[in-house]
């Protein structure tokens, strides 16, 4: 399903699945005069049946899991998901507690295993809580208006000096010769 279907305004349903309310206040903040996201066509709706996008804040707890599943199925296709905050993206600081299922990925695993549903397009907005501008950036990335800046990085150390007894005892002499090994400079 293509994200190009969301070309004009977006209607958003906000679901708090057990968070501390910090991210909820930031989601409400983007409708206040300083950020005013209604000029970009985004509107909060009261019923999931009217929504295009569902915004999750907070980790999914055991008590809210059935309600989150029902709300997810009530949003009609095509839909998209915005996971706001560190609790929704990865489970948060209590990711291993007995009362918490996890972040949005654990939720998708349950949906695949028991309901055979593939995950919809999702945008992850990390932060604790993310700034209102970061949430606007996330929605813009979802719509394809802005390109995402964050990419994964990988580094593998290529060459290491071989450690012999002589090398380590006369470390300062070798450092001066080879132009210095700048490891752990304060």
């Amino acid at each position: 399903m293509s994200l190009k279907l969301f070309r004009r305004s977006l209607w958003v349903y906000h679901l708090n699945s057990g968070g501390c309310n910090g991210c909820d206040i930031e989601v409400l903040n983007i409708f206040t005069p300083y950020h005013d996201v209604e000029r970009l066509g985004i509107k909060l709706v009261a019923s999931p049946r009217h929504a295009d996008v569902i915004v999750f804040t907070g980790p999914i707890t055991r008590e809210t899991l059935p309600k989150a599943i029902r709300a997810f199925f009530a949003v009609p296709e095509p839909k998209a998901v915005v996971a706001v905050g560190s609790c929704a993206c990865g489970g948060g600081i209590w990711y291993d507690s007995y009362a918490v299922i996890g972040g949005i990925e654990a939720f998708y695993r349950i949906l695949e295993k028991y309901y055979k549903v593939r995950p919809p397009p999702t945008v992850y907005v990390p932060g604790c809580p993310p700034k209102p501008e970061a949430i606007i950036h996330g929605v813009a990335v979802l719509r394809g208006v802005l390109k995402q800046k964050q990419r994964k990085t990988y580094f593998l150390e290529k060459e290491v000096p071989t450690l012999t007894r002589d090398f380590i005892v006369n470390l300062e002499k070798y450092m001066k010769q080879e132009g210095g090994i700048s490891i752990g400079k304060r």
Binding site: N16, G18, G19, T61, I93, Y98, A99
Partner: protein
């Protein structure tokens, strides 16, 4: 009537052994049959009030289960903890709910987590744990670990059985939300438009913080999880925990660090009260007020970002002091911001509160008399609006509050309008306190030098959050961890009072009444309305009731 500290302690000595834990805090150890007498004397005769009940599994230390009832005496400026032990095989203790109705939820929670049975409790049902929790499994006992709970005892299949997909495809008729099939927060039983009874079901935000803090986190990592308990008043939890550990370990925090902590606490109070005003105006249908108060609030959030690095979750505390400093430029900027905010609020907010519509929808509504407030042991602005003068900053001073001058606003009417006036006065008191703090901040260190924490010591940390008094009880443990940590937020004591306030009122006034205690679940407030005569049930959002679309 005994009034001095010495006389109170002599009276306590007749019931059991008394010991001083740290400054202004005493613990009395009594046998189980004397608990009701001593609690009744402390709450009703000596002028103290009941604060929290903490259960604890101390079988590894001395072989018993322990219960601590904490009472605060404002006149003598001390706190007294009543400690009893229960038999490990079949733990039973007489309940104090018949004499102090405010202890209802506290005892149910101790029963949920430890399995302690309180004799003569009116309804000892499940309160906090999810509805599909198996019987006889008590999560906070020391013989069950998080791994076992997650993977062996609780299986996700039990959750799946309750959420069948066939139930979801229902065509909505009228204001019915198929996603919120089951009642979440309040069940209101109505006859036509009048509310006759109310019940509360909640606690879906239960995340198991106490067990995570006991098993996995070290003493210096817990301030970060304490901040994320609440999304609006998190810094008070942070300070209360750090104070509890500092008192238990006898660590001396430098004065400059105490001033910085007080500055951030007052900034948080201003932003929380402005947020509350916005939510109240929104529920009364006055969106201009909502937008204008949140506009002024943005200036305070920007100030917090400059001082600490983030708009919320300041992350400034460690046990023993603070992590960052405030320099001269920041002090000057803060004073300018406060002047601007004060000017705006005196012009806008005072005029909005004098509008005829606001006054007629909040006066004489949601009444809570002084006797009911004492019985339920409510705290914070709700108590101050019903004629009880209680404020932790004045009567049990902590951080730098002992050196400041301020007033505690108290009103007598007990309705929603009094609570509005209490919070309005508190904003201006906070601004004046901030000016005193910023101008008189002393020089010094930011962190204490010796931060060693000995094992198995008890500490009690008290702060005044924007919603009321906040209390943390900490028992330190070994290997840099805590043995037991119980944070109690002020809304825990205040929410049961809504069930008293709602009876006999109109349905359209319910949102304003529920919002007037400033509960910490402002964003997903859903209500189920049960019409007793017609036998129908509907689920609505509070916004819809307030705009009259509840038909």
């Amino acid at each position: 009537m005994p009034t001095s500290i010495y006389e109170v302690l002599e009276l306590m000595r007749k019931y059991g052994r008394i010991e001083k834990i740290h400054k202004d805090t005493y613990i009395v150890e009594v046998k189980a049959d004397k608990v009701k007498d001593i609690c009744s004397i402390l709450h009703w005769k000596l002028g103290g009030h009941f604060s929290v009940t903490v259960g604890s599994d101390e079988r590894l230390i001395n072989g018993y289960f322990a219960i601590y009832h904490v009472f605060l005496l404002d006149e003598q400026k001390i706190s007294i903890i009543v400690h009893t032990k229960a038999n490990p095989a079949v733990p039973k203790i007489p309940s104090i709910t018949p004499i102090i109705p405010g202890a209802n939820w506290h005892e149910r929670e101790a029963h949920d987590f430890f399995g302690i049975v309180f004799e003569n409790h009116p309804n000892l049902e499940r309160l906090i744990l999810p509805y599909d929790w198996p019987e006889k499994v008590y999560p906070l006992r020391k013989d069950v670990s998080i791994e076992e709970l997650r993977f062996k005892i609780l299986k996700p299949e039990t959750v799946k059985a309750k959420a069948k997909p066939e139930e979801e495809y229902i065509v909505p008729i009228g204001p019915y939300h198929p996603a919120l099939h089951e009642p979440e927060y309040f069940e209101l039983y109505v006859e036509g438009e009048r509310i006759v009874d109310a019940k509360y079901k909640g606690f879906h935000v239960h995340r198991g913080i106490e067990k995570v803090a006991e098993e996995r986190l070290t003493i210096n990592q817990i301030p970060f999880i304490a901040e994320r308990i609440c999304g609006i008043c998190g810094y008070t939890h942070n300070v209360a925990y750090c104070q509890a550990v500092e008192y238990a370990a006898n660590i001396d925090v430098p004065l400059r660090a105490k001033y910085i902590r007080s500055i951030l606490l007052e900034i948080e109070r201003i932003h929380s009260h402005l947020l509350w005003f916005g939510v109240l105006f929104h529920l009364l249908g006055f969106d201009t007020g909502f937008m204008m108060t949140w506009l002024v609030r943005e200036k305070i959030m920007d100030l917090a970002e400059i001082l600490t690095g983030n708009r919320k979750n300041y992350g400034m505390n460690l046990v023993g002091g603070v992590r960052r400093d405030i320099n001269e430029g920041k002090i000057k900027l803060s004073l300018e911001t406060l002047d601007h905010v004060e000017y705006k609020l005196r012009n806008i907010l005072s005029k909005m509160l004098k509008l005829k519509e606001i006054m007629s929808r909040t006066k004489e509504i949601g009444l809570l008399s002084r006797e009911e407030a004492r019985k339920l042991s409510v705290v914070g602005p709700v108590a101050r609006a019903s004629g009880i003068s209680t404020d932790v900053r004045k009567y049990h001073p902590y951080a730098a509050y002992g050196e400041l001058e301020f007033k505690v606003p108290v009103y007598d009417a007990g309705d929603v309008y009094s609570r509005v006036l209490v919070r309005y006065d508190e904003i201006f008191e906070s601004i004046s306190m901030l000016k005193q703090l910023l101008k008189n901040i002393p020089k010094g260190d930011l962190m204490a030098e010796n931060v060693e924490v000995p094992e198995y010591r008890k500490g009690l940390g008290l702060t005044e959050a924007p919603r009321g008094e906040n209390i943390h009880l900490v028992i330190t443990g070994r290997e840099n961890k805590v043995y037991r940590w119980r944070p109690r937020a002020p809304s825990y004591n205040n929410v049961p009072s809504t069930l008293v306030m709602l009876k006999g009122e109109n349905l359209a006034d319910a949102p304003a009444i529920i919002a007037s205690i400033d509960p910490c679940f402002s964003c997903t407030d859903h209500v189920v309305v049960v019409d007793v005569k017609r036998g129908t049930r509907r689920t609505l959002r509070l916004k819809e009731i307030s705009r009259g679309r509840a038909r």
